[in-house]
Symmetry: C2
Subunit: 491 residues, 2 copies
């Protein structure tokens, strides 16, 4: 493993790309825009999935699975949805290959052309609402609270590992409700659930808010979001939850009989987070030495490295280490004892630093004599020597401490990078020199939003949920504005 | 819910299709050949996944994720693989849609044609071995023991829910080894792991064996399999594990440096089970009243139904029930207390019978007075009254008992339906009148195998692992045969 990473100061973007590769998280495949998620990266994603899945189930949701393919005509049914999604997608047109007539390789069999093309799902509202029509007849069938874990495809021209790939993994929730307030409550609850997960599992502080009309999901009445801030001052949309009104129910004719026997259209939400969260996780905490992982998501929470000369010393160390491993595991802590004799301790130290293992324990001959061991925390790189018989308690405390510390550090960074600006000049200056979120007045029009985006590349990330009423003037047009919205350049 | 199922005796195939629908397991979608797995069906599949995933990890495997798309040219690289898989597949030819010029809907944008078509993976050997070439340099990189949970697509003309669908969910393991014996050991270990899972989680007895050359996986040197027997006497291949030799390593040029510094091709295995297992599970245990589920895979292991008149009685019952629910849950038993007031007890009884909930508890006014409750087991439909303070122990014992009983019942059925036959006449007669596995002598040639298949629809399911040497004559040609192989009609 070539050790040195490009530093963040040198080239943040290059640092990220190198880190993803060198920490064995993912790599580009031979298929344009599609990544391979490597075992170490996938183990982190599995921990995210497990955490989220439990939260979904605890709030009454069930998992199901809907088809990968969506008939082309389904997209045309919801007018704004087709504009947003039907354009950049993978289209299946044939269902057979055959040997080429010239004997060289295989070719598409033109006789096996589909009557109607199938789209690889970019999101599943259409196929799911086509199904819900059969499942929902009465108020007794509601609410319907489903989620699926799936792969989706959006044909992106410029891709980056985890942040933007043609195929990605995600979960998509699709719920159906009898009333508008209930659906809105669901969409808001999920936004809060996502924020809870981001902050308490990923240690990534987020701002909760709603999107402006032009940034809304295609087909939504309201899009709720959580926005994280990366170390380079750019925002990263980390999860969205949509109140869809009756748009999809009307497009797919999904009605239910109320208690009173009236026929009404069903109210809907949809919501999702994806492997993009991996990008947020990596960029929020990591440093020039490599990955920094929150203990709750680290596949290996503690690594133990023996420092020895000769097999006798290794055996003596191993004898001390095994009970520690067992004791930590019995407390639900994942531990790796790396006794490989093919690599030196220094190499191992670098590897686990690069891979963001939260705690490293090292034990050498002198430790054996003194009844001590060395404990090092990945986030601050601090090391200290502790009595061996205190190791379990120390590790447990330190794992909690690291989880909190990296959140607090990221939170301080976020807070220090929300700047209130009052003029367009100041806006452009701060955006250029400091970045981060800019709290500014805006006149509420798409035209002004577009102009700002074209001139500065900043977009309105959200109208924060806890926004304060504050009469002001749009920084661009001077028109009246009731509150500040948050701008940023974004991933 | 329309209650009555077609009986197995009336029409086994119709019984199966109705059961899958009525028990809310899955249904056909609007996309030809693709199913929707409903929440109840998916909950069973999740339990299967969890059980298998733990077994894979306990034997040293890690999960990863590889792309959905495979460039067409990859298929051509392994000659026998392309014959087996490249024909019936979904082909992506374009990456964009556009509004139709006549304003009616959307059409494929002919300008967005891919230079090379992409195949939706029917299995991932090719894309994975293309990746392994980059990952494997030295003996230190071996063994590589990976698995992925994924959706795959094989364009089937005749589909049936779970048993044969165009898209299905599965896991596919892909391992790389330094030596031939190690790879063979892996393939055999996985066959044993699958059999262990089938028998001890699904309660489905299986026969372990190897496939004949013509039934082998396209690209394999040896295919190991587990074969289950359904109640109608047809076999169902439930899992396969392939020793691939160096075929894929050669096709994708994957070499490693041995300890001695020589360059050698890597040895491979691949193995998979799919949502087809759901079909095996359903057909092995269920009866004319509906699903019968093994407790280990039942989403709801115990359902409690109150039988009451008026809210006072319901409250009194609920007061007794809640501690039981809590106590069972604390023992890891999944319990549903169905206190819905929209449905009568009789309706609920039918519903849980149909859905195969292993144990049903019912409590009425007289039970309250007597300190008893009624316990009913789904497999035998036996009911009895037990003292309420014995319920926890009784449920625990009964869950174990049901798990064992349904396995023993299926095992007895399997054993009773392996018939040794010595002539082709007898073979045809038994196949027609009784079905099941037929142990017969075969001359080892593809020609005879083909002839038997064409004349009787029976195929060689496997050469059992524990086959006894027994010199004999092929029942068709009279040529020498060293042991009996197992024939059956199969799903």
């Amino acid at each position: 493993m070539g050790k040195k990473l490009t530093t963040r100061a040198e080239d943040y973007s290059k640092w990220y790309n190198e880190l993803v590769i060198k920490a064995d998280l993912a790599e580009n495949s031979g298929v344009r825009g599609c990544m391979v998620i490597k075992p170490y990266g996938f183990a982190i994603w599995e921990k995210m999935q497990a955490g989220l899945d439990k939260m979904f189930k605890d709030t009454g949701h069930q998992n199901a699975y809907f088809p990968l393919f969506i008939p082309k005509s389904y997209f045309s049914k919801e007018a704004s949805h087709v504009e947003g999604f039907a354009k950049e997608c993978a289209v299946v047109t044939h269902y057979r290959l055959k040997n080429a007539e010239d004997g060289k390789g295989i070719v598409v069999d033109e006789e096996a052309k589909l009557e109607e093309e199938l789209i690889i799902r970019p999101t599943s509202e259409t196929i799911i609402w086509d199904t819900y029509r059969r499942w929902i007849q009465s108020y007794r069938d509601l609410p319907l609270l489903l989620n699926q874990w799936a792969n989706v495809v959006r044909w992106e021209m410029r891709t980056r590992l985890f942040l933007r790939t043609a195929e990605f993994l995600w979960q998509e929730g699709h719920t159906a409700h009898a009333t508008e307030p209930e659906a809105i409550k669901e969409a808001e609850m999920i936004m809060n659930l996502y924020a809870d997960f981001a902050e308490n599992h990923m240690a990534v502080p987020v701002i909760k808010g709603t999107k402006t009309a032009s940034e809304r999901f295609a087909g939504a009445i309201e899009t709720y979001c959580i926005e994280a801030l990366m170390q380079d001052g750019k925002a990263l949309q980390s999860g969205t939850s949509h109140f869809l009104g009756q748009n999809f129910a009307k497009a797919f004719d999904v009605k239910f009989a109320t208690k009173e026997g009236k026929q009404e259209y069903v109210w809907a939400t949809s919501w999702g987070v994806s492997t993009r969260l991996m990008g947020a996780l990596i960029m929020t905490h990591s440093d020039d030495n490599g990955l920094v992982l929150p203990p709750k998501l680290a596949p290996i929470q503690v690594v133990i490295v023996p420092i020895y000369k000769g097999l006798d010393q290794l055996e003596a160390i191993t004898e001390k280490v095994l009970p520690i491993v067992e004791s930590l595991r019995s407390r639900g802590i994942s531990v790796k004892y790396d006794n490989r004799d093919t690599h030196k301790p220094g190499f191992k130290f670098n590897e686990y630093e690069l891979k963001g293992v939260p705690i490293r324990l090292a034990i050498g001959q002198r430790d054996l004599e003194n009844g001590t061991l060395e404990i090092a925390r990945r986030d601050t790189l601090e090391k200290s020597s502790i009595p061996m018989d205190e190791v379990i308690g120390t590790v447990e405390t330190l794992l909690k401490d690291i989880q909190e510390s990296i959140f607090n550090k990221a939170k301080a960074h976020q807070q220090a990078n929300i700047t209130t600006v009052d003029s367009y000049e100041e806006f452009k200056k701060v955006l250029e020199e400091k970045g981060g979120f800019l709290a500014a007045h805006w006149d509420g029009t798409v035209a002004t939003e577009e102009r700002i985006k074209n001139e500065t590349k900043a977009t309105i990330r959200c109208i924060p949920i806890d926004v304060k009423e504050e009469a002001g003037q749009c920084m661009v047009t001077g028109k009246a504005s009731p509150y500040r919205v948050l701008f940023a350049k974004a991933y």
